[in-house]
Each structure stands twice: as structure tokens, then as C-alpha cells.
């Protein structure tokens, strides 16, 4: 085994900071913004010990604990904020750690830039150490900012310091995990998938342990993060476990990096079949294959999120009813709370499905940029014959993602409320957003046909429409704007009846725009400049 070579770590750090500072700052400041939003809203909602006590009672619900973990001291301001941040921190902090670590390691190596750097006077382990140092620094920065945000709104200072440290050390463990993944896998994609898999497993194990506080909590980095109990009785052992695990993983990653070739990986890439199956050779089969991963990913995401929201319905109602102020604010009793909330969840599902539609249609332009479109059109097949199977697969994918989310929402809501009449209501409401999907698809296709370089601009339309649809009522935007923005066209289903005119406008507009797009696509240069 060769010795570690860490010469030039300063150079490596400078290079990574110069090329990655925007990403680092975006992650840290973005998460800090979420923390500040949460702390300020919790502070204004639960401004008396009584209100905090009633909040603390809702957190003993096992369903809530599966999502947010076992949070100590939820009857304190700090504890309530930790509980509210539970879900975000459990995913966003590991994601930050993975993103920043892989950015400076496997991504650079796969692109061949690492080789370039190592050819100068930079030691082989210097880039790995620099990436780790940068990710850890970002985590420490995030921890400090979190502590400041907590102290700023009046949380107990010593608990706030402990919590900030817990956030940073949770991330450190995942820096270690992704540093190993960067050695094991040859492609950034695979290293990401493996690290994300570990993060998801840690979340599930913590959830399973949190239901009735079993030893399983000690088997997950997220369990250690809970066990720190910043606003209860803080412990040192979980810290020792987090930091110890991080150091052990980083040490192992360094040793592994010394035993392998630059550009190589510990796991050999998988091999596949020699020949394409008959299915893959058909245009439809190839399109199916190309959209498969993205479609399944969105379908699982929609099912998990919608299932979670639905099953929380009763908990949220209890929480609102337990809080006299909120209950008064939402006057109208349980029915008055549930219908608008169901409408909001259906709108969220529509946003998810819309995101899928735009991402899937965006892949058509990527097919063009990569040169594969040219190559396929040099075959004896017209442009329309290339596009049609893709549109068919994306249409099926839209139905699949919508159905996965719609069924999960309908079934979990019905189970949580003990009322099966919600199943047909929510399924119908989910389907009633389909004309909006058609409209979004039409805009994307029209751009693809006539002005492909600007196809991504449809995301701006989507974002504006999403903000108007989701936050419009809260921001007190004019009614006509909310009703005529794409997501408002079908009406606030199922709280209100379907706006048939609006649905027709959206659907017909989508079909016309898609037709125009197809016309443009058959007439333009490929690749378009």
C-alpha cells in the first residue's frame, strides 16, 4: 500500500472553492433561509407556554415521530422548532453533505479534471481531503447559523449550541459515507445513488425505531441526531458516535483511495446484454427505456409524499383543534378544515405531475443536443414517427405518476379520517387537473418546435403558476389572476366544483400548442442553432 500523498492540499482547496463557492453558499444559505422561516413562524404561532404544551402533545403521535423522529423537549420553544425542522433536516443535511463531497471528488475524477490537477504538483489524496474539508466547513457554517437563528428568536442558548453541533455532525457522517462511495463507484450517478440509498435507509431505520423508541434508534445516524436531545437533557455519547463514524469512514476512504488507480473505481462497472431485445429495437420500446427511470422516480416520490400528507390529515386537524387561536381562525369546524386542505394536497400533486411532464419533455431537447436525435433521424423514419412514441410514453408516464400520487393520497386520507367517501372524491379531483398538464405540455412542445433553445423557459411559467396557485390566496393576489393562472383554471377541486370552461380552455389550448409545436419540429433545422 502506498503512503498518503497530501501535497498541494492548499491548491486543491483553492480550486474547489473557486469553482464551487456558489454551490456551497447556495446550499448553506438556502438551508439557513428554511431554518429562519421555521423559527420565525413557530415563534409567532406558539408564543405562550400553554400553546407550546398543546403543541408538545401532538408530537407524541407515533405517525409524527416516524417522520420527525423522537424530539426531546418539544414543550420548549427550541424543541418545537427542532421538531418542525425534523423532516427538512433529515433529508437536506445529508443531501448537502453528499452533494458537496461528490462534487469535489468523483465528479471531478469522472470528468478527467482530477487527472489534470494531479499531473501538477498535487498529491493523490489532496483533492479528496480538500473536498471533505470544504463540505465539513459548510456544515460547521450551517450549524453556527442555525444556532444564531435559534438564539435570535429566544431559544435557550446552550440547547441552541448543542443543536447546531448536532446538525453539523449529522452531516459529517454523510460526508464520510459519500467519500467512500466516491472511491467505490466509477460514475457520479452511481455514487449519488448509493449515498442517497444510505440516507434513505438511515431515515427508515430511525422511523422504525422512533415509533416506540426502541434500540433501532441507535442504529441510525439520524437516531444519534435525535438522541443528542439538545432541548431535553443533552448527551455526549451520540456526538461521539457521529464524529467517530465520520472519522472512521473518512480514514477508510483515504486508504481506499491510495489502493486504486486515478480514474478507476473499486467496483467494476456492471455489464449488460450483447444484443438489444426486440422490444428495445422498437421505437416505443426505446422511448419507454429512456423515460423509465425518471418516470418511476417521480411516481415513487408522488406516492410517498401524498401518502404522508394523507396520513397526517387527522394529526393536523387535531393540532389545529388543540390550538384555540388557529381553530378560531379556521372557523367552520372539521369539514371546513378538511376540504381546503385536501384541495391544497391535490394542488401539490398537480405540481408534482407538472414537474414530471416538463422534465420528461425537456429530455427531447437533450436527445437533440447529444446528437442522438440526428442519428435516429438519419434512419428511415420521419420526425413525427420519432416524436410520437416519446409523447405516448410521456402521456402514460403522466397518468402513472398522477395515479400513484392520487391513489396514495385518496387511500391514506380515507384511512386517516376513517371515511372511505374520500377515495372517489380525491381520485376525481386528481384527474381533473389533467387539462392543466396538457397546457404545460403544449407550451413546452411549442417551444421545442419553434424555439428549442428556450424550451427551459417553460419552467419559469411553471414556477410563476405554482406560486400564484399555491400562495396566491395567502398573498391576497387578485382573484382573476389566481383563476386564470394555469393551476387555477380547473378551480379549487375538490373544495369547489370543477370549472368546466377553465378546464376546456386549458385542454384546448394545450392541444393547439402541441400541434403547433409538432408543425415547427417537422420544419426546423436539426440540430437547431
Amino acid at each position: 500500500m502506498s503512503a498518503l500523498s497530501t501535497t498541494g492540499i492548499g491548491t486543491s482547496l483553492r480550486v474547489q472553492w473557486r469553482t464551487g463557492r456558489k454551490v456551497v453558499l447556495a446550499w448553506v444559505l438556502g438551508l439557513f433561509a428554511v431554518v429562519v422561516l421555521t423559527t420565525s413562524s413557530i415563534t409567532s404561532l406558539y408564543d405562550t407556554p400553554d400553546k407550546l404544551r398543546s403543541y408538545a402533545e401532538t408530537t407524541t403521535n407515533p405517525g409524527m415521530r416516524v417522520l420527525n423522529g423522537v424530539v426531546a423537549g418539544t414543550d420548549t420553544l427550541g424543541g418545537a422548532m427542532v421538531n418542525e425542522l425534523g423532516f427538512v433536516v433529515a433529508f437536506a443535511v445529508p443531501l448537502l453533505a453528499i452533494a458537496l463531497t461528490l462534487r469535489g471528488t468523483r465528479r471531478e475524477e469522472e470528468a478527467g479534471r482530477l487527472e489534470l490537477l494531479l499531473a501538477s504538483r498535487v498529491g493523490r489524496q489532496a483533492p479528496l481531503l480538500a473536498a471533505v474539508a470544504l463540505a465539513l466547513a459548510a456544515l460547521v457554517g450551517l450549524g453556527l447559523l442555525t444556532t444564531l437563528a435559534f438564539v435570535g428568536v429566544g431559544a435557550e442558548p446552550s440547547g441552541s449550541i448543542v443543536y447546531g453541533a448536532a446538525v453539523a455532525s449529522l452531516g459529517a457522517t454523510f460526508v464520510g459515507v459519500s467519500a467512500i462511495a466516491a472511491q467505490a463507484f466509477g460514475h457520479t450517478r452511481s455514487a449519488w445513488a448509493a449515498s442517497l440509498g444510505v440516507a434513505a435507509l438511515a431515515y427508515l431505520v430511525r422511523g422504525a425505531g422512533a415509533v416506540d423508541e426502541t434500540w433501532l434508534l441507535w442504529a441510525s445516524p439520524l437516531g444519534w441526531y435525535d438522541k443528542v436531545a439538545a432541548f431535553g437533557e443533552p448527551r455526549a455519547l451520540p456526538f461521539a458516535l457521529s464524529i467517530g463514524a465520520a472519522l472512521a469512514l473518512l480514514g477508510l476512504a483515504l486508504r481506499l483511495s491510495a489502493t486504486r488507480d486515478v480514474g478507476g473505481s473499486l467496483l467494476a462497472p456492471r455489464v449488460g446484454p450483447h444484443r438489444a431485445s426486440a422490444g428495445l429495437r422498437s421505437p416505443f420500446g426505446l422511448a419507454l427505456r429512456e423515460h423509465r427511470t425518471v418516470t418511476l422516480g417521480w411516481a415513487v416520490l408522488a406516492a410517498v409524499l401524498m401518502g404522508t400528507y394523507g396520513s397526517l390529515m387527522q394529526t393536523v386537524i387535531d393540532a389545529i383543534e388543540g390550538n384555540p387561536d388557529l381553530a378560531a381562525w379556521l372557523a367552520g369546524g372539521e369539514a371546513g378544515i378538511v376540504a381546503p386542505m385536501a384541495a391544497m394536497f391535490v394542488l401539490l400533486l398537480a405540481l408534482l405531475v407538472g414537474g414530471y411532464v416538463l422534465q420528461a419533455l425537456g429530455s427531447l431537447r437533450r436527445e437533440e443536443i447529444s446528437g442522438r436525435l440526428e442519428l435516429q433521424l438519419s434512419e428511415a423514419r420521419s420526425r413525427a414517427a420519432w416524436l410520437t412514441p416519446h409523447l405516448a410514453v410521456i402521456a402514460l408516464g403522466t397518468l402513472l405518476v398522477g395515479a400513484a400520487g392520487g391513489v396514495a393520497l385518496a387511500v391514506s386520507t380515507a384511512a386517516a379520517l376513517g371515511d372511505s367517501s374520500w377515495i372517489p372524491t380525491l381520485l376525481l379531483a386528481s384527474a381533473q387537473y389533467l387539462p392543466v398538464m396538457l397546457l404545460l405540455a403544449g407550451i413546452s412542445l411549442a417551444l421545442f418546435g419553434w424555439w428549442p433553445r428556450a424550451q427551459a423557459a417553460v419552467w419559469v411559467v411553471f414556477a410563476v403558476a405554482a406560486v400564484i396557485g399555491y400562495m396566491g390566496p395567502g398573498l391576497d393576489l387578485p382573484t382573476w389572476l389566481i383563476e386564470w393562472a394555469p393551476f387555477g383554471l380547473v378551480g379549487d377541486v375538490p373544495a369547489e366544483d370543477l370549472d368546466a370552461t377553465g378546464a376546456l380552455v386549458a385542454g384546448a389550448g394545450g392541444v393547439v400548442l402541441a400541434g403547433l409545436g409538432l408543425l415547427g419540429f417537422t420544419r426546423r433545422d436539426i440540430p437547431h442553432r
Binding site: 455489464v271 446484454p273 450483447h274 428495445l280 427505456r289 440526428e374
Partner: protein, 342 residues
């Protein structure tokens, strides 16, 4: 020629914004020939091929491919041709073997025996996913799927980028076999050795225009050979028509002469050298590199329609040792492309 030509292009124009990608390009490819299509990066080679495929519509000019109009008859024409693009990104998740089949399916499927033969000769591991391939191996995938198809016309756009010399040899063999079967090939390249080895005729383009076209023998005849000789007395070449870049010196009391000689003047020059008492004599015929570089050096005069070999070569007279003129060549090429930008 136009009647039976496989590819016939006249006065092709294509503008992207303010860039003239094609500026009156002509190209004629006869049945059964390998036609070398030469030009530096950005000269318009790929744009021309995309017009031939009906992917890009020309602003003006006439284009006929296999007796059809590529823009209107694209689908029918594509049954009879196969295309290898420059630097394609294949489907990263498919294996090389899957990609070959997927790409080959629309040429009416590939000839299985030929496919197997090519996979073996190009030494390609078809079970690897293309994201794990090197550039050269990715290029082999496009090549195999095009060369295994049973077609009348192959459009190859820089087909061998990333291939090692061994694979380059295999490529040349396979192209020769296809041509022997009656396939016509348009070979766009800037690897001159490859074009020299394969092409019957070449067209050299610059800034979207055809600068010269013809067989290699034709082009050689109009271009200077390099002469190096050591003689007892001075051969007196100064002032002979067709002699340029003359440089004399002395070696061990004898006269050393280097110069460039046009085809027409060779016999007169050899006579003079012989009369001066030959000690050593080397005449190097122009390589394709020389032809290419010479065309690029001569841009302005060619546009005037004169064969401007002499005016162009005068630039060389500063130092005409072989290494010197190579450097000059490079300098002249870049000067040429400056002008393209203008």
C-alpha cells in the same frame, strides 16, 4: 457526371444569424467512389452533411442525393444510406451491443453475420455500457452500426476520431470492402493520411466554399514537388519558370540546392541538375498535407479564379528547409482562417 452522380450539390448557401456556414458550396460524388471531403473545423463539412441528410434546410442552392431531394424525400432516401456523425453521445445506460442494434434497426436491420464480423475485427466488448466506454470505443459503435448496414451510400463525418492506428487500419479495410460491394462513400475528415489512403477524389472546402476538387493525381500535378540536390556546380535554377522557394548553400565544397518545382517544370529542372553534375537528388511528390496547406495559403487568389501557386509559394522563400516550410504552412493556415472570420 451530374446525371448519374450519387450526390450533386450546386451553389449551396446556409446562414445562421450573421454566420455564413455555407457560401456557395459545390460537391459532386460519383457512384462507387470514396470522396474525401476536407476542410478545417468550422469550414462547413458537418452542415453540408446535415443538408444531405435533410436535417437542415439550405437557404438556397440545388441538392440531389440518390436522385431525390433530401429535405422532401428524407425517409425514402434514408433507407438507402447510413450516417456516422462526429462525436455523438450514445445512450449512456445501454450496452454497446444494444446501441448497435438500436441504431441498425431502421436500415432494415443489420446483416447479423456482418455485424458479428465487425464486432470481432473492431475488438469491441459489446456487453459494456456506453458510459464506461472510451471515446474510441464509442466511435466503434456508430461505425459498426453504419458499416454493417446494407446501404448504397455511407456518409461518414470524421468517423475515426479517437480510434488507435490499428483500428484505423481495420476501418480502412472495411470501407474498401464496402466500396468493392458497390457502396459510395462521402468521407469527411481532417486526418489527411486516411483520406489519402481511401479517397478516389477529394473536395477541399473553406469557409463554406469548395476551393478545389479533383482526383489526387490531378491535384498533385498542379502542385509543386520538393527538390533537394547536391551538385558539383550551380545548376542555375534561378529564373526558371515554375521554380520557387529556391535556397542554395554549400556542403563540403559542393552546391546544395533546395526548391519547389511545379509539375510542368520538372523535366527542365532535372535536365539542368544533371548538367551540373549530380551528387545526390531527391524529388518528393506533394503529400495531401502539402496540397491542403497550399490551398489554404492561397485563398484570395483562388477566389479571383487564378491558379496562384507562384504568388502563394513566394511566401515560402524566406526559409524553405522542410521544417521551415511546415511552420510556414501552419502560419499560413491560421492566416487563412483569420480571413474566414472576417
Amino acid at each position: 457526371m451530374s446525371e448519374s452522380a450519387i450526390i450533386d450539390v450546386h451553389g449551396l448557401h446556409k446562414t445562421y444569424g450573421r454566420t455564413h456556414a455555407l457560401d456557395g458550396l459545390d460537391l459532386s460524388v460519383a457512384p462507387g467512389e470514396v470522396h474525401g471531403f476536407l476542410g478545417p473545423n468550422g469550414a462547413g463539412k458537418s452542415t453540408t452533411i446535415r443538408v444531405l441528410l435533410g436535417l437542415t434546410r439550405a437557404d438556397s442552392g440545388e441538392v440531389t442525393v440518390l436522385d431525390g431531394d433530401p429535405w422532401h424525400d428524407a425517409v425514402e432516401l434514408h433507407r438507402r444510406l447510413a450516417y456516422v456523425p462526429a462525436g455523438v453521445t450514445l445512450w449512456p445506460g445501454l450496452t454497446g451491443g444494444q446501441c448497435i442494434d438500436v441504431l441498425g434497426r431502421a436500415h432494415g436491420g443489420l446483416d447479423d453475420a456482418r455485424r458479428a464480423d465487425l464486432v470481432e475485427r473492431f475488438d469491441l466488448d459489446t456487453r459494456k455500457r456506453t458510459r464506461d466506454y472510451s471515446t474510441g470505443n464509442r466511435q466503434k459503435v456508430s461505425l459498426i452500426s453504419a458499416l454493417a448496414a446494407d446501404v448504397d451510400l455511407l456518409l461518414l463525418d470524421e468517423p475515426t476520431s479517437g480510434l488507435d492506428p490499428l483500428m484505423e487500419q481495420v476501418f480502412q479495410e472495411v470501407v474498401r470492402e464496402r466500396v468493392a460491394d458497390g457502396t459510395t462513400v462521402l468521407l469527411s475528415s481532417h486526418i489527411l493520411g486516411e483520406v489519402e489512403a481511401l479517397a478516389d477524389r477529394v473536395s477541399i472546402i473553406r469557409a463554406g466554399r469548395t476551393v478545389t476538387t479533383g482526383t489526387l493525381a490531378d491535384l498533385r500535378r498542379s502542385t509543386s514537388s520538393r527538390v533537394h540536390t547536391i551538385t558539383d556546380s550551380s545548376p542555375g535554377l534561378a529564373g526558371v519558370d515554375g521554380v520557387t522557394a529556391l535556397d542554395t548553400g554549400s556542403v563540403d565544397g559542393r552546391i546544395e540546392t533546395r526548391c519547389h518545382v511545379e509539375g510542368a517544370a520538372v523535366s527542365e529542372v532535372v535536365g539542368l541538375i544533371h548538367a551540373a553534375g549530380v551528387h545526390t537528388l531527391t524529388i518528393t511528390p506533394p503529400s495531401l498535407d502539402d496540397l491542403f496547406l497550399e490551398q489554404y495559403r492561397e485563398g484570395p487568389s483562388l477566389r479571383d479564379g487564378r491558379g496562384a501557386t507562384s504568388s502563394g509559394s513566394e511566401q515560402d522563400s524566406r526559409g524553405a528547409t522542410s521544417s521551415g516550410s511546415e511552420q510556414d504552412g501552419r502560419g499560413a493556415t491560421s492566416a487563412g482562417s483569420d480571413e474566414v472570420r472576417r
